[in-house]
Amino acid sequence: MASTEFQHDTATHCPYCAFQCGMRLSGPRDAAVVAGDADFPVNKGALCIKGWTAAEALAHPERLLTPLVRDAGGQLVPATWDTALDRVAEGFRKTRTDFGADAVGIFGGGSLTNEKAYLLGKFARVALGTANIDYNGRFCMSSAAAAGIRALGIDRGLPFPLEDIAQAEVILLAGSNVAETMPPIMQYFEAQRANGGVLVVSDPRRTKTAAAADLHLRLTPGTDAALANGLLHLLIRDDLIDHDYIRERTEGFARVRQVAATYWPERVERITGVPEAELLQAARLLGRASAAMILTGRGAEQQAQGVSNVLSFINLALALGKVSRPYSGYGCLTGQGNGQGGREHGQKADQLPGYRLIADPAARQHIAAVWDFPEDELPGPGKSAYELLDSLGPQGGIRALLVLGSNVAVSAPHGNNIRERLESLDFLVVADFFLSETAQLAEVVLPAAQWAEEEGTMTNLEGRVIRRRRAFDPPAGVLTDLELLERLAARLGREQWFTYASPEAVFDELRAASAGGAADYSGITYEKIEANQGVFWPCPSMDHPGTPRLFAYSFPTPSGKARFHPVLHRPAAEEPDEECPLYLTTGRNLAQYQSGTQTRRIAELDAMAPEPLAEINTVTAERYGLVDGDWLTLQTRRGAARVRARLTDDIRPDTVFAPFHWPNEQSANLLTNPALDPISRMPEFKVCAVRIVKE
């Protein structure tokens, strides 16, 4: 095609993280030109290398351009859409007939647009009638979400716009390495420091983010709640808490105060490994600032006590009297592209659109009315992500699975078990644009459109609903996920509930479904988003401007007050011992994203991060006779992974870090512990016991 056909300059957003950088796309698909969108007020033109190179996936030679079905010989071979969809519909129907509706499961993703996440939830409940739908956001945001709802009555990652960060005097960033995971956000932290602000980072590693901080609390993995309680103890002792705020805006402090009495500095130092002097420094910084923020990331959240950890940080923010004050408060830094919107509209096992609970009779009636579907036919709550995956196969009872926008074979914990479970399915369907490690196990693979080929909305980490726009038509033979779900629903005899003129029509239904819910989108339209560079939810009516800042006058709890929760620190589900003497913590590299399905295929990114580098302290490495660049095996009670040593003094000597972006024998999730948080069902990705085996 001649390039003259591509005079477009489409404003859309990066496909990767929750920062959702505004970017402009021009040129033809196979030579698309990416530019940062200087007009978009969040990234202001900045992009990281993942964004700059994002368009390379569009015309990648490995891109799936036709459905694949497994033939009699067990090979995945090209097929027509009709053949493929017939097979999927037949597979689901048969499973349902033989084993019941709940025997079909759906696994979604936090990178799906709001429209897709919404429709996938509806598809599960209406087209399949299954209770078992969950998504990979369970592995991402669920602990912060559960804690936010318990303490503040609502789960919106940041209750304030990013620009507030620049005005905060002191920020405590707990377990987040944003300098690598969402680099363009650093402009706000740079601005904060240029304004004289102070940044405190708690992390077992001296990450790029920690290195940019004024104070780095190098805590022992899994001891976040002890750290937060210890800081609270010092704030109470030195009377740096806000008594008026606690009295007027909160409830439950008395008990938390008493729990804090048992976290005196010497004890906290011994648990966390953070020197008393640094604890005191951090407490005084927070306590004396008129504007202070506490932000959490996956480090504190991806633990079997993730909800408790977040609650302990919220306690701190509340005791300081900072939640709802200008340039202050508690927030979590959402990870996945639509990690926020993806958790609001019914993709979760226990949830209906608008952040409603599926077990709530009023919520069911509202949704049933919007969908024009009998309420008593809506299923109840289903299994959470890891439990759903762990139930795959004859024993667990989920015999068929549809995976959309996730690569669970790489991203779920205890990878060996997940692989076995996936292999034990009667029927696996995966929609993706590359043949991911999960897709390789499927019976049917459906080629999906990519981000630059679809219309829809995303909700960024601030709760700002933004527009994803189509710069290119999908390649011939490729459907958008919305089209795919519509066609599949029709084959399952549910056409009347799944006929939409456009993604915008899906969004309009989502708006109606969310009306009156916690995440109320009813006053948000595509037009309004475009006119305002995004709209913050809740936005309950057409004349409502959206809500950049929450909690101004009250909290959306029954009493209108924020709630303290007493939190006790507990050891990790698996602590180091003689057999596995070190902590393992997992995380991300700048040049890779999630399971790497996209980023590992992009040459420039692959060149920057071609293989998993395990960070090992030089002192520890010496004990094992390792030198920089050595290949080694990390071994836990669940599996082994082959990684390369990167020796550094930036990590605690008792801790090894491994990135999880690689598949097969290099997958860090072969090692991780699927111990779940009792409330959020978040697996313990961030702490387990490991040993180093030299090759």
């Binding site: 033109g45 008493q258 000597p653």
Partner: protein
């Protein structure tokens, strides 16, 4: 529903109350009707914080862990301010004054300890109470009385230079008294410290304003008494210190009378087995300072809480096999202005033990490790608060130590300094977000780009987080300078911006001696 068993806990202090908390956290209130006896007439508070209360850092109310309403909410029947008087093992009952009688299926004794009062003449009044102006330091009530008295006192003597004595002395110093410590031993904290560490600690404390007297055995409290506070303290060597306040911190004695009267096996403490039950009555358990396990008594909070957790796991069936096998003992001196962490053995026990020490008297730094089979068997760390957590954790976990022991004593000594941009190799990544190397930046400079903006636009450097911009700018300047001066002889270097990271000051052992020697020195 099964009938609940009856559980009595005697003692509402650090061990008893913690045990009940651990029990309740495991739904123990569903399994047991819980009855508690607490001699002090309040809820439960954190005794660890009392020295901080004395020093005025904590308010008394900040030490409360469970107030009386908590017990009510949990359905626990607490006899507050009631001392258990008698255990009838045959009848499985506990009696107390006022006609109180409670029966048990399981009994937990957590009676703690009492301050040891050495035989000092005239320390007590004619009714056997401590004379006005003389204090023991155990309870919140003691603490409050000391605070009240300190308001008008001028000169205090603390008998005992152990942990508690030093903490009490420091607290009184905060209350603007002239404070003396009279210690029986030849150096302070002789139970935990070797002589050099004790000597250095003495200097450190003297610098804070404390007056320390060693080898002092107090023999009598001197008059005037009548209505007035004490007049002074007299020692065996004939010396006398005038004072109007005396604090006795000469150690503690386990409270075992109740157990002894009940016929339980007691020696120094109530003798317990690994499952924390008494030797001769499996329905009775003892935890905390009153218990004696494998010949040892425990006075620190960590082993007490460990016992509390283990017993709760056992009695709730969470882990019926849970057993106590002793713990590694470590503690820190809670004295403002002094960093002292101690753990395990203070001296080598055999010729095989390796001893590493580092001493820097001018700064009051003393570090000593006792290494046994490659693991830490003990340590003293004085004057270095930043090293303590790592060493404590290595000790707690029994970690194999690095071959180079200095790695433990001087963490961070190996951290490389940031390089000047001039020294960076061309392959060094400058912009991490976009993977731009120094070589690539120089390349575009040589292609004619000369401003930061132009170089960034051409390379994408600085377009992510922006943190590298100062460095990119420095490289651009460096390159401009280099090309401008290529014909000249001198090359001037414009350094990259040094970023102020926290560094370990005086991290290397260069200014002082490090001795590594096998066996005791």
């Amino acid at each position: 529903m099964l009938k609940k068993e009856r559980l009595i806990v005697i003692g509402n202090g650090m061990a008893g109350a913690r045990f009940v908390e651990e029990l309740v956290a495991r739904d123990g209130a569903e399994m047991y009707d819980i009855v508690m006896f607490g001699e002090e007439s309040c809820g439960n508070y954190n005794r660890i914080l009392l020295s901080s209360v004395l020093a005025g850092a904590h308010r008394p109310e900040d030490t409360f862990i469970n107030n009386l309403s908590w017990y009510e909410e949990q359905g626990i029947k607490l006899y507050s301010g009631v001392k258990a008087g008698w255990i009838d093992r045959m009848g499985q009952s506990v009696y107390a004054a006022g006609g109180i009688s409670e029966s048990y299926d399981k009994l937990v004794i957590a009676t703690g300890s009492t301050p040891f009062l050495p035989p000092v003449e005239s320390m007590h009044d004619e009714d056997g109470f401590l004379r006005s102006g003389v204090f023991s330091f155990r309870t919140l009530e003691d603490c409050q009385a000391m605070i009240d008295h300190a308001a008008t006192a001028r000169r205090a003597v603390v008998i005992g230079g152990g942990l508690l004595g030093l903490e009490a002395a420091r607290g009184l110093l905060e209350r603007h008294l002239e404070v003396h410590i009279a210690h029986l031993g030849g150096h302070l904290m002789n139970g935990q410290l070797d002589a050099p560490a004790g000597a250095m600690l003495k200097e450190t404390l003297e610098d804070l304003g404390l007056n320390i007297h060693l080898d002092k055995l107090a023999v009598s409290v001197t008059p005037p008494f009548a209505g007035a506070p004490v007049g002074g303290l007299k020692f065996k060597d004939g010396e006398e210190l005038e004072c109007d306040m005396i604090v006795v911190a000469a150690g503690v004695r386990p409270n075992i009378d109740l157990a002894r009267q009940a016929g339980l096996h007691v020696q120094h403490g109530i003798v317990i087995q690994d499952d924390l039950s008494c030797r001769n009555d499996r329905n009775i358990y003892a935890i905390g300072e009153c218990a004696q396990h494998r010949g040892k008594l425990f006075g620190l909070v960590a082993p007490l809480w460990e016992q509390a957790r283990i017993l709760a796991e056992q009695l709730t069936g969470e882990n019926p096999e849970a057993s106590f096998r002793g713990v590694k003992l470590s503690t820190k001196l809670k004295v403002l202005g002094v960093d002292l962490a101690i753990m395990g053995d203070k001296d080598p026990q055999t010729d095989e033990d390796e001893q590493v020490h580092y001493s820097e008297p001018a700064r009051g730094v003393y570090k000593k490790l006792i290494v046994r089979n490659g693991r830490l068997a003990g340590a003293i760390l004085l004057g270095d608060g930043l090293t303590a957590p790592g060493v404590l954790q290595a000790f707690d976990r029994g970690e194999l130590l690095p071959e180079n022991r200095a790695g433990l004593l001087f963490p961070g000594a190996g951290v490389a300094a940031r390089m000047d941009v001039a020294e960076l190799p061309d392959t060094a990544q400058v912009c991490n977000c976009n993977g731009v190397t120094k070589g690539r930046i120089i390349q575009v400079c040589q292609q004619g780009q000369s401003t930061l903006e132009a170089v960034c636009a051409a390379t994408r450097a600085g377009s992510g987080c922006g943190a590298c911009k100062p460095q990119v700018k420095a490289i651009v300047a460096f390159e401009a300078n280099r090309s401008a001066s290529q014909s000249a002889t001198a090359i001037s270097v414009i350094g990259g911006k040094k970023v102020a990271f926290p560094t370990i000051e005086n991290a290397g052992p260069s200014r002082a001696t490090v001795k590594v020697s096998p066996g005791s020195s």
